[in-house]
Every structure is written in structure tokens, then in C-alpha cells.
């Protein structure tokens, strides 16, 4: 199984969630994060003083999935979350050794 971590632009969340649901992903976990990358923060002025907004709001999605779905999922995210403008984000793929569904105690792929 794989554990996919995707960093995307906040406004893309709904579209990505829908795209993933369509290809059969039934669960995912989202959180608010701040990203630092090529998309440089901008300079703002507050009371006459400049300040850098280095970290830019992003959404992080974590999705555990069966190996078979990996390519589909990565493709879907890469397609839907893409605006073509800098700061679109990244998809990270990690290996997932095991899963447990707490409610039932199911383990492994069945728990997804």
C-alpha cells in the first residue's frame, strides 16, 4: 500500500476531492499547512513597515491507498490541482506498511 501526501492550493481542494472520489478513493485526510517554495511570498505593508509573507497557505491531503490505485490517484491529483502557475504543489509517495480500521479492527488493504 502507499501513503500519498499531496500539497495543493486551497481553492483546489473541492475539485481534487471530487476527482478522487470518482476514481474510487473513499477516504482521505486534509489539513491546513503553510508552504515555502519557488512561489515566493510577497511583501506587504502594515503601518508603514514592510513584511514578508514567506509561508503561503496550502492544503495537505493524506491518502492511504492500494498499490493498484497509485498511478490513477497521482495522475488525477496532478491533473485537477494544476493551474500551471507557480505554487501548484507537490505529490509525495511513501510506502505504507500497514493499516487498521479502528471501528472494525480490519487490517491491511481491507481497512482502506
Amino acid at each position: 500500500m502507499k501513503f500519498v501526501i499531496a500539497i495543493i492550493k486551497p481553492q483546489m481542494l473541492d475539485d481534487v476531492r471530487e476527482a478522487l472520489t470518482r476514481i474510487g478513493i473513499e477516504g482521505m485526510t486534509a489539513s491546513e499547512v503553510k508552504g515555502f517554495g519557488r512561489q515566493k511570498g510577497h511583501v506587504e505593508i502594515y503601518r508603514g513597515a514592510e513584511y514578508n509573507v514567506d509561508f503561503i497557505p496550502k492544503v495537505k491531503l493524506e491518502i492511504a491507498l492500494r498499490d493498484e490505485l497509485l498511478d490513477l490517484v497521482v495522475e488525477a491529483i496532478a491533473k485537477v490541482a494544476k493551474t500551471g502557475r507557480i505554487g501548484d504543489g507537490k505529490i509525495f509517495v511513501l510506502d505504507l506498511q500497514d493499516v487498521v480500521r479502528i471501528r472494525t479492527g480490519d487490517m491491511g488493504p481491507d481497512a482502506l
Binding site: 506587504e44 505593508i45 502594515y46 503601518r47 508603514g48 513597515a49 514592510e50 513584511y51
Partner: protein
């Protein structure tokens, strides 16, 4: 918008300030009965006093909105405590220091105040109503200080300073003018509602505090760069400003000190209008100026613009024509807009912009009085501004310094880093929302 439009803006303002004038003879007004006059005057003090009292809430909200969340509960403690301490000190010491001064004198009497209405016919108002009105003025001066030194001053030393300011420092200088002391007697110093006596006094005390206590950790770095520390709740800061604006009608209107006759009623009404127009002009000016300077409107400076306009008109809210009131307030707006970053250049860390709005605009408002009030002179005004400035600043500086040497005035670096709320109160202002 361009520099040209800036020029145009002020040209228009000036043209307007000249404005139409209305001949106004003094018709023979009939009088109300003695009792009615007494009740009217007393009511003026009480109602004006109530809205000025509410300014304590206004300052509290303005400050709580402009500090970072980690210091928000502490600024609330300071604001409600300072208003309470002001009441107690004005009772124990302040009032008799202000009004117990001999004509032309330098210092009043030390002693607890008690209401004495035996002389009602002469004063024309209830003694307690006057006390109440004066007390809330004193509290205002203390509120100014808390904003400047927020986010790093320790609670108890700050409250000690407030006790001294409201019990002794403010009363002594106020006695010079409003108590009939030397400034009033010898220099015909004119400060109707306290641009200097209240606002500059608070501002000087705040400046002294800012210098002794130093800037917030991380505000200015070695390379001279200023680091913005955005306020945590601009809506609350805006609410505070509206409350202050409301209170100012009482502040300036009540300073007419009498309502029970046709001319007094007309005067109070005129004061309301000028007060409002100066604030409005301060807002619009700060709005336009920040747009021109930074290409984006700055809400917090716009709020300061309202205060700056209000402080500027406070020394003489009755005499100016509306056009002049607009001009005076507008320049107040210019002052705050330019002085806020200027103070940062000087590495004087004034969290809420109280020094530009209260001290600088207080000076401006006081100096411009002779333009509309022919009984005042620029010299007299200068003497007042300088003498009160020197007095308040020196004593305040000495006191802050003494506190620094004894109790310490400044939270430790780790305390400042985790925020005074956790460090000094062991609570959080927004325990469920606060990041980190």
C-alpha cells in the same frame, strides 16, 4: 492616484475650510429657571461622563485588536484596572490637586475629595457630576499609555505608574489650566477639552514609557529593518475606534461645562458637529494618503486617522468654522499617517500609534487654536505645550526609570516570547483559536 491628486485634495480642503460664514448677533435669549439650569448642567456632565467612561471600553478594544493574540488578555486586565485605579486615585488625590490650586498657582491641595453641594447656586451643577466628568478624563490619559507600552510592560509596575499618573502627574498639570493655575492666569493658555492637558499628557507619559521600556523583542533588527507585528483582530480595533468617536461627543461637548441656556445648548451642538467633521476628515485623509503612499489603504492607520482628527479638534472644538474643523482634522490625519512609520525609524515602539494620535495631534490641535480663538496667542499656546510637555515627560521618565531599577518594567525575554497572557496571567485570550 498621484501626487497631483494629493495636492488637489488639500487645495480643495483649504478652499472649503475658508467656507461660508454666517453673521451671528447675540440675540437676547430668555433664561431657564435656576433649577432647570442646574439640572441641565448636571445632566450634561453625567451623560457626557457616561460616554467618556465608555471610551475606556473603546481604548480596550482598539488595543486588544492591535496587539498580538498572546497579549490580548493582559491588555484587557490593564484597561479595566487602569480605569478602576484612576477612579480611586482621583478621589483620594487627584480632584483636590486639580481644583484646590490657588489662582495662578502651581500645585493644589492634597486630600480626599467629598461632594459639597452647599454652593449649588454658584457652581450651577451637582458637585458629584463634575467629579465624575473630571475622573473619566483622567482615566482617558491613562488609557493612552497602555496602548503604547503594550506587549512587554509588566502588569504591576504599569499599574503603579497609572496610580501616579492619575493621582499626581495629570492633576498637577491640569491644575495649571483648568484649576485656574499659572498657565490660565498668566498665559491665557487655551485648551478647551484637553488636546494638551489630556491627550498630550497621556502621550508624553507613553513616550517616556516607550523609551525606558524599549521596543518589543524582534520589532527592530540589527540591520535597522522594522518588523511588522500585525494586530490580532482588526474588527475589534475598529469597534474600539467607533466607541472612541462616540465618546468624543461627550468629551468635547461636555467640556462646554454648561447646557442650561440657549447659548450653551447652541455651543454644545456646534461642538458635536465640529468634533464629527474633524474625525471624518482625519479618516478620509488617512485613507487617501495610505492609498497614495503604499498603493493600498491601511485600515489601522485609518483608525488612527479618526483619533488624530478628534484629538486635533479637542483644544478648540467650538470656535472653528466647519471648514476649519475639517482642515484641522485632516492635518491630524496627515500627522498620524506620517508619524507612525517615522516613530519606527526612530525605533520608538508604539504598539497602537498612541504617540502620533494623542501626542503629536494634541500639540498640533493646541497650537492651531489662535486661528479661530482670538483670545489665545501662539506664545501662550507654546508655553502651555512646552511646560506641560517638559513636566509630564520628565516626571514620567523618572518614574518609569525608577520602576525599571526597582520592580523592573519589562517582561523577561521568554515571557515576552510566549506572550504576557501565559506568562503573567496563565491564561489565553482565545484559548481555542490561538495558533501556537
Amino acid at each position: 492616484m498621484t501626487k497631483k491628486s494629493l495636492l488637489l485634495f488639500f487645495t480643495v480642503l483649504l478652499a472649503i475650510a475658508a467656507g461660508p460664514t454666517f453673521a451671528q448677533d447675540a440675540p437676547a435669549y430668555p433664561a431657564a429657571t435656576d433649577a432647570s439650569v442646574f439640572v441641565f448642567n448636571t445632566t450634561l456632565f453625567l451623560i457626557s461622563g457616561m460616554v467618556v467612561m465608555f471610551m475606556a471600553a473603546g481604548f480596550c478594544m482598539l488595543e486588544v485588536g492591535l496587539v498580538r493574540a498572546k497579549n490580548a488578555a493582559t491588555i484587557c486586565v490593564k484597561n479595566i484596572a487602569l480605569f478602576s485605579i484612576a477612579g480611586i486615585m482621583v478621589w483620594l488625590l487627584g480632584y483636590n490637586l486639580i481644583y484646590g490650586v490657588a489662582e495662578g498657582g502651581f500645585i493644589g491641595k492634597f486630600g480626599i475629595w467629598g461632594a459639597d453641594d452647599a454652593d449649588w447656586a454658584q457652581t450651577g451643577y451637582a458637585a458629584s457630576s463634575d467629579w465624575y466628568f473630571q475622573m473619566v478624563f483622567v482615566a482617558t490619559a491613562a488609557s493612552i499609555v497602555s496602548g503604547t507600552v503594550a506587549e512587554r510592560v509588566k502588569l504591576w509596575p504599569f499599574l503603579i505608574f497609572v496610580a501616579a499618573l492619575t493621582g499626581v502627574i495629570y492633576p498637577i498639570q491640569a491644575s495649571w489650566e483648568w484649576g485656574g493655575g499659572w498657565l490660565d492666569a498668566k498665559f491665557a493658555f487655551a485648551d478647551f477639552a484637553g488636546s494638551t492637558l489630556v491627550h498630550s499628557t497621556g502621550g508624553w507619559a507613553a513616550l517616556a514609557g516607550a523609551l525606558v521600556i524599549g521596543a518589543r523583542d524582534g520589532k527592530y533588527d540589527q540591520t535597522g529593518r522594522v518588523h511588522a507585528m500585525p494586530g490580532s483582530s482588526l474588527p475589534l480595533a475598529t469597534l474600539g475606534t467607533f466607541i472612541l468617536w462616540l465618546g468624543w461627543f461627550g468629551f468635547n461637548g461636555g467640556s462646554q461645562l454648561a447646557l442650561g441656556s440657549i447659548d450653551n445648548a447652541i455651543a454644545v451642538a456646534k461642538i458635536f458637529v465640529n468634533t464629527n467633521m474633524a474625525a471624518a476628515a482625519g479618516v478620509v485623509t488617512a485613507l487617501v494618503l495610505t492609498q497614495l503612499l503604499y498603493k493600498k489603504v491601511d485600515l489601522t492607520i485609518t483608525l488612527n486617522g479618526a483619533i488624530g482628527g478628534l484629538v486635533s479638534i479637542t483644544a478648540s472644538p467650538l470656535e472653528p468654522s466647519i471648514g476649519l474643523a475639517v482642515l484641522i482634522g485632516s492635518i491630524g490625519g496627515v500627522i498620524v499617517t506620517l508619524a507612525v512609520p517615522l516613530l519606527d525609524k526612530l525605533k520608538i515602539d508604539d504598539v497602537v500609534g498612541a504617540i502620533p494620535a494623542h501626542l503629536f495631534c494634541g500639540i498640533w490641535g493646541t497650537l492651531v487654536v489662535p486661528l479661530s480663538d482670538k483670545s489665545a496667542s501662539l506664545i501662550g499656546q507654546l508655553v502651555g505645550v512646552v511646560s506641560i510637555g517638559v513636566f509630564v515627560f520628565t516626571i514620567s521618565f523618572a518614574l518609569w526609570y525608577l520602576l525599571k531599577l526597582t520592580t523592573g518594567v519589562r517582561a523577561s525575554e521568554p515571557d515576552e516570547q510566549i506572550g504576557l497572557d501565559k506568562a503573567e496571567l496563565g491564561m489565553e485570550a482565545y484559548p481555542e483559536f490561538s495558533p501556537a
